[in-house]
Symmetry: C2
Subunit: 463 residues, 2 copies
């Protein structure tokens, strides 16, 4: 997979000396380290940076960025390396900024239900910090991503249907701009009309407009009661419909995750479980005891009307955690279907009323091309994922997967949806932005040129 | 109040002929029409445009904008004229684009719970269009503003605590950019990671980056049950605390509006009501019958713990509508406290834990300066309004109000909040953006310069 590891820039030794003056030995040009920072979790070929730096403060990052600006060196922020569309590949070499050592809790205001963390803190580390506060951070993309990476990609995930994406849960950011200036966007107020929404502009900009170094987050109270249920359906349509009807009847479901039969089979094999190998929805309900009971009763009735043969409760915490572990392992379970393979995870999002047709057409397309590709859907949002289990060295297979992917993205855009609901653009989906945005893409490019006139921030990505 | 009405630009007759070719007689240079489009609902002096145009389509607006770009004519979009910080004042003359004739429903997708409207449609007109669908649009700033104006100012209001601001409820926009290109931002999907969030950038940009001509909105199911209650408190602190505790205990209250004693007195006089003249909170609860009962019971207990002497229910629709009518008339009720006066409405938003101290300090400050100024708070968001009832010709009074306002804005920023939670910047709050944003303001200016290099879009506002 690896491209030959050589410098794609011709950065002078003086530049590296400048970095050394800022960071001492917290930088590396070792081949293994560079390779490790040259890819995320997808099939996109490795593209290693010239150097990886390990800063500990916003100030150090600002100094690194100023040095890069002076020498025209490309900058690629690197969080936990869980991105899926080649976001962290150093396509033009340069400096990969490994954010892992910026992992501190800066502030926690339990009474205001907000906190501020350094961008390298991972989602699970934040969970640990919040233990005992009665609060939680709901955005859950599955992977143990860094909070900064989740902000940079506008991540969402399983609980978005209830709690929103990063867009609804980030109050503000600290960002090092491409010229090295440090700005704070947003404050701790729940809303503001004071000027342009730079926070929103940075969310989902994937490191192309600046380096996010701190993230202020909105927290939520842990619900008094939580219940979960698993329900399998005869058809994919019925499974999707159960979620659509749940949303349309106003049940504030906390999670509604659909796994198709291929995915259920993979999950069973991987975790030694025995769920029916049918399209299945995992539901979760949050609220008071009475509210949870009322919500789950409403959904059980919807499922029963759709002819679902069973509705299994998981009220005990250990049953729920087994269930969500199975869901979270879906990616790795799928890879295990074909040892030695790589995963090509792609996603689209459509208006929820078009979700069934979009998923069903995509499933037919996958099967017609003879590919192995489970489907998982955050169905409550109209968002779903296809995971092609592929051998990247098999050109024919790659071409078939690319065809299915291309048709799915075009279908989603035609249906009024988007070519990526939550994975982002990286360089894998750049060519679909024109179809989706038309002239609006020119406006995005104007913004990029205004904030990063040298084009040093994560070059080759997004716009 | 009116400034002498004369042209501040020197636009040639050829420009007006070009407008006439686009619009026929749907344009006016009559003094009364120009004056009418030279101000919003606040005390800021009138600044009339040179001409007011009344387009009916996005295409006509694009043609007008191209003509303006060719002649360097300033452009000021004008919705319902309910803005409060001088947003619509034509400070440099030019063309006011009256959006009122773009008032159509473009699409309604009840099954997906979304719709698309032309920007000039007002909030109440939308309410009419949605009758019988079982759906409603929750953002309620009080005034019968246009949806486009609400998008342009990032409006919010009484239900934000439960349903969010325009930011959470706008799916996408059609925007005429300053060079006349028409772009669509966002689609109908509930979320997207496909490129920069131009929708978010336009929301709250107050016409300085383009003219919003269509707005795609997220709709919500009308709750099965609605209940409301009014509760008065001995002190302002106790009233604020009742809301803070409600939020912190996770009760998903739909509205929590605090009116101070001065405001309650005004409301009583204006509408012939007899509420106690004490700090009062109006609560509203949405959900199923059981959920509403559970929520309101929880809040009644919180209020009782805070020593509230009464908790009046309004379960009948007519009682609720009387209650919310009283709340919505607060602005006009306040003006009636002093006939012939003008209102200077200002707002800030702080982290909710700091709301009590911020409101109490502001109340003391108002009283110390001997001003009449009721306070109303969307307390669940940490947002509150002061309405100075003033005589703009009384320089001393204006100065005292400006002092109170300045201290309040600085206090809010110091407490981690914002100088405006929902009114926006216009030109009234421009000078506070530096204190709030620091260097981030330069990034905003770079974005402005990139998208509007001629500086013709609503000049003199925001950045």
């Amino acid at each position: 997979m690896a491209t030959p590891i050589e410098s794609r820039t011709s950065l002078p030794e003086a530049f590296f000396e400048e970095l050394r003056a800022i960071l001492g030995d917290r930088m590396s040009t070792a081949e293994a380290i560079r390779q490790q920072h040259g890819e995320g979790e997808s099939f996109h070929p490795n593209a290693a940076p010239d150097v990886v730096v390990f800063p500990r403060t916003t100030g150090e990052i600002a100094a690194v960025v100023r040095a890069c600006a002076a020498y025209g060196a490309p900058i690629v922020p690197f969080g936990a390396g869980t991105s899926l569309e080649g976001h962290v590949q150093a396509l033009e070499g340069g400096v990969s900024i490994a954010m892992g050592e910026l992992d501190g809790l800066v502030e926690l205001h339990a009474e205001d239900m907000d906190c501020r963390v350094q961008a390298g803190m991972t989602r699970k580390a934040l969970e640990e910090h919040l233990k005992g506060t009665g609060l939680f951070f709901p955005v859950d993309p599955g992977a143990d991503a860094s909070i900064g990476g989740m902000a940079a990609t506008g991540a969402s995930g399983t609980t978005t249907v209830r709690y929103g994406t990063m867009r609804e849960n980030v109050l503000g950011l600290t960002v090092v701009l491409p010229d090295g200036r440090v700005v704070r966007t947003g404050g701790r107020a729940r809303k503001s009309s004071a000027g342009y929404d730079l926070t929103g502009l940075m969310l989902g900009s994937e490191g192309t407009l600046g380096v996010i170094t701190e993230v202020a987050l909105r927290l939520h109270g842990i619900p008094e009661a939580v219940a979960a249920a698993v329900c399998s359906f005869e058809t994919l349509e019925a499974a999707v419909d159960s979620v659509i009807l749940t949303i349309q009847s106003g049940v504030p479901v906390a999670r509604a995750e659909l796994l198709d039969d291929v995915q259920m089979d993979a999950v069973n094999r991987f975790a030694g479980l025995d769920y029916p190998v049918r399209p299945t929805v995992f539901f979760e309900f949050h609220g008071t005891d009475a509210a949870v009971q009322e919500q789950s009763q409403a959904v059980a009735e919807i499922a029963s009307d759709l002819g679902a043969p069973d509705f299994q409760w998981a009220t005990r915490a250990e049953d729920r955690s087994r269930l969500w572990k199975a869901r979270h392992e879906a990616y790795y379970a799928s890879l295990a279907l074909r040892p030695g393979s790589r995963g090509w995870a792609t996603d689209v999002c459509v208006p929820i009323g078009r979700l069934a047709e979009c998923i069903v057409s995509t499933r037919e397309d996958i099967d017609a091309e003879g590919l192995i590709a489970p489907i998982v859907s955050h169905a409550g949002d109209g968002n779903f994922h296809v995971l092609f289990i592929i051998d990247p060295d098999d050109a024919d297979e790659m071409e078939r997967a690319a065809r299915v992917n291309g048709r799915m993205l075009e279908r989603a855009i035609e249906l009024g949806g988007t070519c990526t609901g939550e994975h982002g653009v990286g360089y894998g989906k750049k060519k679909y932005l024109e179809a989706e945005h038309g002239d609006a893409l020119h406006a995005m490019r104007a913004v990029k040129a205004a904030l990063d006139p040298q084009g040093i921030m994560n070059p080759g990505k997004v716009v």
